[in-house]
Symmetry: C2
Subunit: 366 residues, 2 copies
Amino acid sequence: MSDVPWKGSAALSGAGYSAVELDAANERLFMLDQRRLPGEVQYLELGTVCAAAAAIRDMVVRGAPAIGISAAYGMVLAARDARALGAEAYLEAMRAAGETLRGTRPTAVNLAWAVRRSLVLAEQHAPERGEARWREQAELGRRLHREDVAACRAIGRIGAARLPDGATVLTHCNAGALATGGYGTALGVVRAAAEAGKRVRVLADETRPYLQGARLTAWELQRDGIEVTVVTDGMAGHCMSRGMVAAVVVGADRIARNGDTANKIGTYGVACLARHHGIPFYVAAPWSTVDLNAAAGSAIPIEERAAAEVTHLGGQRIVPEGVAAYHPAFDVTPAELVTAIFTERGEIRPPCDLRHPPWAERGPAT
Amino acid sequence: MSDVPWKGSAALSGAGYSAVELDAANERLFMLDQRRLPGEVQYLELGTVCAAAAAIRDMVVRGAPAIGISAAYGMVLAARDARALGAEAYLEAMRAAGETLRGTRPTAVNLAWAVRRSLVLAEQHAPERGEARWREQAELGRRLHREDVAACRAIGRIGAARLPDGATVLTHCNAGALATGGYGTALGVVRAAAEAGKRVRVLADETRPYLQGARLTAWELQRDGIEVTVVTDGMAGHCMSRGMVAAVVVGADRIARNGDTANKIGTYGVACLARHHGIPFYVAAPWSTVDLNAAAGSAIPIEERAAAEVTHLGGQRIVPEGVAAYHPAFDVTPAELVTAIFTERGEIRPPCDLRHPPWAERGPAT
């Protein structure tokens, strides 16, 4: 792609495209408008934290890690606006910006996590009025972005070890480069397997209502030359019954400390089907997705989005006028259906207590 | 509806709309173009068996029983064209017409069944050259149509007895009035429960890729004043886990003699989910759907339709150019996942051998 808008500054995603990047001057966010993919590759230019929040809410960017990075960058724009304020007013402005961002998508815990990191920094540097606040927030945002890509690569290596050569991986939604800082979580596992020389192909659930699988997973795997076939969500069971699926790998929007995993609506059904067919079901997610405050999945808030996202498709009404639709955006897969969780810190096999991960016995948890 | 085109002649469907009707002069088939629902109610007028076959292939009409009746009516148009031929030439013409019809949709067994009934009649009356052939084929078509509606009502009564008052029924695809001669199979069960005074509501899987649930099930239940909520296919598991589903009722395109059931793609996944959650899974279908020649589901041919039905939506491409899609139109639910099969002859609880249904012990099988 020749038309990436951050030409001159390096893309932290490590690819020819990014879900989100901060420009070299720390003044603008570039967000790939994922609602327009695959038909059109268009980056939105966002100059304020409110614009960034609106873009998150409107699904310009989606995927828990990518939302987290977008929020951190949103806080950079907030710090820029508030750089000349007194310490108290600066902190007030940053907290308000954080609230705005946190309100956009309730299920992705990375969002709250990134805002919290930014606010901790804000408290530290509030006394230093001026450019330093802005620059330091930008450094934090870029660090979180780099760490996320590194986490995805580590997750990929850990997960890829579980994929046999010649495996067909079924995935739901998009847990790829577009859902993260770059490289992807579930698709990072696929990429790492391919980089390790394994033959691997992907069956992508189209993932109604937003079609992240058909539009985004297919788009980014095609760019990487990894074989991908799209199926409707209802075909997953049939494909499993025909022996077409070696493993399921999905991402996560939030993981409770017992391993219960919230992810895009439909994931739970895929997990039940995997169990029915004796197929391993893996969750791939950075540690920032783990919510140690949530004892179990029941503590995870499930966002309900507008029914119009179900009743309409491409602007066209598919459900009769006056008929109701229900749109929970996420569901919770109980830990007992999860074969393993891949994080950058290591692999966890439920049942588990993520406050005491297995590797903590070998060294201090971080 | 004031604009049904068969004004003057009675609709055999028993409703203000019909999937298919033969006009009073036995010259034209009226088919409700289900591809345009719910946006537009438009009947196609078909004057030849080839036009009828094309309409079946192109999904103007769908649903195994409705396809069967359409085929029987298509044979009426063939008999009209061939009414002046000699006996041998007439039979030849009718067999060719039957082949054309049979080639349109391989999974629905009712289609082959209706064609066979028509050809048996053709052999009987081949010697009587002239109008009698045409009239007798029309009488047969109408008899099959009336029998189908009566069968749906009987199925409905039998199935409704299994639904508790206040039940929410999850259904997949459209097994309603639009999929049959009228009244419906799975939705016939719902209608009969409502007519018996039970409070009943429906969760309709939208049923990608053709959206029969979102478009057709929602449309006809709304017309009947039965509460219906549309969910995407991936939401079924979540709804079950939340205790929102009392029973699953679906139709069938073909039932093997061991009870294995072919139905719209996605049905098998719903059956696995129902089993996982301990929810009864019912199949409602007329006896014409039973294929005693198929020992098990593996003997049922599964139609693969064009990938474009997955890659495009409303004429718009949703999957990137060059990415493959897979489109098996049906799947097979093994009998062990089926709680009961409702037919107009009675209820069957797998495991079973449909050559020897339970009611045969109480009287001769027909």
